[in-house]
Amino acid sequence: VLEQFLQKGRVAALLWEVCQQPAQPGAPELQEALLSRVACLPDHVSNQLQGKSPPVFFPQNYFPLLGGAVIEVLQKISDSLRGGLDCSISFVSHILGKVCVHGRQKEILSVLVPHLTELTQSDCIWQRICWRLVECVPERWMEAVLLGFVQRAPGADVLSRLLGNLVVKNKKAQFVLTQKVLLLQYGHKTAVLQNLLGYLSLDPLRRSLLIQVLQELLETWGSSSAVKHSPAEQQQYISKAILICLSHLKESEIESCRQELLTSMMEGVKCHLDSNLPCVRRLGMIVAESISLKINTEGPVLKFQVRGSMKFMSAVQGLEERKVLKHMIQDVIAKLLSRVIPRTSRGTLSGWASAVLADARAVVDDDLIPYDMSEDKELTAKAPLYLRDCIEVLTGCEDVDKWEATVKALEGLIRRNPAAAREVKHVELAKILLHLEEKTCMEGFAALRQRAQVAVLTTDPIPVAQYLTSQFYSLNYSLRQRVDILDVLVLAAQELSCPKSHGNTKHSVAPKPGIQLLPGSDSSKDWRRIVDERIKSKTRRIATGQAQVEPAASPNEFNSVAGHFFFPLIQHFDRPLTTFDLLGEDHFVLGRLVHTLAILMYLAVNTVAVTAMGKALLEFVWTLRFHTDCYVRQGLLSCVSSLLLSVPAERLLEDMTEELLEAQSWLGDVVEKDPDGDCRRLALQNLLLLENLKKKL
């Protein structure tokens, strides 16, 4: 019976009936009952029929049908309004709200929105009806309905027609649209943001809201705890919203709130640049750039070298530099213009004439025979041939060309004859290299220095490693130098632990200039690559049972020196110095340190010291496990992985059982609760490794 009822379009009639009778006694109860019946019909039916309900009652069919019915009723209502009759729309609104809150927005609105879009195109009565329709939705259902509309509207202008000034009138709607969607949720698409913010910008009444929204967004963007604790996706979402907002603002409006924009931008830049994650830093820079572009229509504009600038130049400095530069450029252009224009117009003709004459004369007697000029090449300074000379040049030479040539030649010199290189103390050389500053704008300077440092460290590992690790924790070094030490240790360890020939070719072929510029991403990728390779090689062996071709056996040179690389680094991390506080402000270096330790641990596989190293590392991880910075946490998790991979299983289970169990529960926590996606993934990987370990027994 119900089926026929539906198919004959009686629902519409039913709704229409209800709309026509205004407030009869006893009606509320009746309405309530009807409402729940209509909105939940598919559930009722399927409950009754035990899952054998006919296709009409499937939600995906029923709700579009209902949508059609709603349209029909609205059509009638509009007719009757035109006829001067009064009728209530609230029942339809109730139905809409209830359906939406039951999670059927997609089905019903996919029918409603296109129709309403078309109908409201030109007709103001329809527009009114539509506004009324949304307005009458009860508060508790408002959110679902609004979200549905915002998501489905094809554009900001359509949304504006459909919703009218609802945001201004309705408190709940205002909350949903300006707070919840923007600040609390971050799963929506960019189109949704554009719809919503476009909608806010389309009416003068709503524009004040737009500015308010922008201020709130900026507050969130600039708050350091939000930057630290919210996931990267949300920060990206908020940044997008800010950029869209900015594009909607007019000059006059920006004028009115310029000061506030500036202060919040400054704060935001500060805490974004403080972050360890390159993507967050970059995001901060991009947003700050566009804000400053907006608020400074004339004069200084903030500009970052978005591609990995390690120099955290303060925003103020940047502004001033820009100012000067801009003035200079303007001057030059003005000069050029004033000079070029009059000159070119005059005297072109006579110029031609004299040129032709001169040429004619020249042809007559030009009998001078040139000498061989093939030796005329670009000038290059000669590089020194001995390490001792290099040291001299690097410490006290004023000649820039020579200095550059020396830096370029250094790595080769160190590597060429390690035995003869005893003529100098390698520690001394390492010291010079560590303090070497870039004197000129030399291409690839950082990479060259790094390679030279690695070369020194690999030729004479023990004393140089001792020197470097002790310097890592001493006073008076810049962050750059400390990070350098870590990088060099990692690269040298990698080289030492690889078979000889392999290491050499790899070094000459694939230098890694990027590591200095974007250390964060690079090293963690590095690490992951190693682990991935490792896992891959393992699985392959088990699955196919084929032994890989063994590279020529050679002693692992890292074996004897692993401890010298590792232990000094792990010892002093909790003793803050006046200039260097790993657990406090310098969490960036801490993050790098942790990653370094993870790699060293991994490279120490099959060495004698590995068990002791593992133990120390596990303790280290345990003390830092609740660090607030997610880059550090990622490093810690990497540490655990490399530990599990490097230390032999029996040693792990005999010596560190308790610690491992503790770690397991911590990992479980991380998998469930950590806000950072990478952390969760790493923790999961660790748990799998632990499981494998158990299976082996």
Binding site: R343, R361, D372, E375, E378
Partner: protein, 328 residues
């Protein structure tokens, strides 16, 4: 296969300081010996005997301040020298004397060499950078009376004058001055009116040196860039760029056209002398001998073309003497 570039004819050593200025005086009749004057960073002016290739005398008149310009006035007995002590000295060297006759206090701290032009017997014009920025003063020598002061218009940001060249179309006609400035432009001044006739932006960087061929009304200038700029002066007294020539290495400290206007030489920061054919700027030779920046190049005024020499003074304390393209 082209011939390999020649070696220097000979090399003069012993200034024990960088050489900044060179000037030949070889035009006198035999039995007078040809002479080369060189000004060095130590403030001495060495008088080289080109027969014996030894220093005849060393003149000390600038209080150990670098000498960056030496010129003779008519004969080798009358010498003009300019030093970093902001003085221009006039020497009397006749009969073995070594005394400063007179001196002009320039009050200019730049490196702009002065320029001399003979007006009549015993009457000379000298242009020099003066105390005020961008200002050039022209004096009459030996009376030291000021002829005119050339100031650029207010607002024209030329910077300091870097090099000067006084010239006249023919004997007895109006003297004119070409001046290269710090902003890379070359300006043609009319001395009698004290007015700039034409201005040309030849370079992006300061003009280090210029020379001008009054017969072909064509000049050349070098700067710290990799470009030589050749410009010409038309009948309306307008300067215009004729062509530019790209160099392999940047930096030209001196450029000189040989008196017979066949070739020109440049002194390069890349330690090399370059020789070009002046008519078409055809590169002819690259002379590679010095081991440091070359500061100056100069051609001799031998009356016999076959004896003509080229000298180059360098920061490496040496003066190299070359004999090149003498058969034309």
């Amino acid at each position: 296969m082209a011939l390999p570039p020649p070696d220097p004819q000979f090399v003069l050593r012993g200034t024990s300081a960088a050489v900044h200025a060179l000037h030949f005086s070889c035009g006198d009749q035999e039995p007078d010996v040809p002479i080369l004057f060189s000004g060095s960073e130590s403030g001495l002016i060495h008088v080289w005997n080109l027969k014996t290739r030894r220093v005849d005398t060393a003149l000390d008149g600038h209080g150990r301040n670098s000498v960056y310009c030496v010129e003779t006035m008519g004969s080798k007995d009358k010498l003009l020298s300019q030093g970093r002590d902001q003085r221009i000295c006039l020497w009397d060297l006749a009969e073995g004397r070594t005394s400063v006759l007179d001196s002009v206090f320039t009050e200019n701290v730049g490196f702009c060499r002065c320029s001399l032009l003979k007006m009549a017997q015993g009457r000379w014009l000298m242009a020099m950078a003066s105390k005020a920025l961008a200002e050039v003063q022209v004096l009459e020598l030996p009376s030291k009376t000021s002829v005119c002061t050339l100031k650029p218009e207010v607002g024209a940001k030329l910077g300091m004058p870097m090099c000067l060249k006084l010239w006249q179309v023919s004997c007895g006609s109006q003297p004119l001055l070409l001046a290269g400035y710090e902003d890379g432009s070359v300006v043609l001044w009319n001395l009698s009116m004290g007015k700039a006739l034409s201005q040309l932006a030849c370079h992006q960087e300061p003009v280090m040196s210029l020379d001008f061929d009054s017969e072909r009304t064509k000049g050349i200038s070098g700067s710290s860039e990799k470009v030589l700029s050749i410009w010409s002066l038309n009948e309306q007294q307008n300067l215009q760029v004729y062509k530019t020539h790209r160099l392999v290495n940047a930096g030209i400290s001196d450029v000189t056209i040989r008196p017979d206007r066949k070739i020109l030489a440049t002194a390069g920061w890349d330690h090399r002398i370059r020789i070009f054919g002046w008519k078409k700027m055809k590169p002819l030779a690259v002379l590679d001998y010095h081991t440091a920046t070359i500061h100056c190049v100069s051609f001799s005024d031998h009356s016999q073309p076959s004896e003509r020499l080229l000298a180059a003074g360098s920061k490496d304390h040496r003066i190299s003497i070359w004999s090149i393209y003498t058969q034309t």
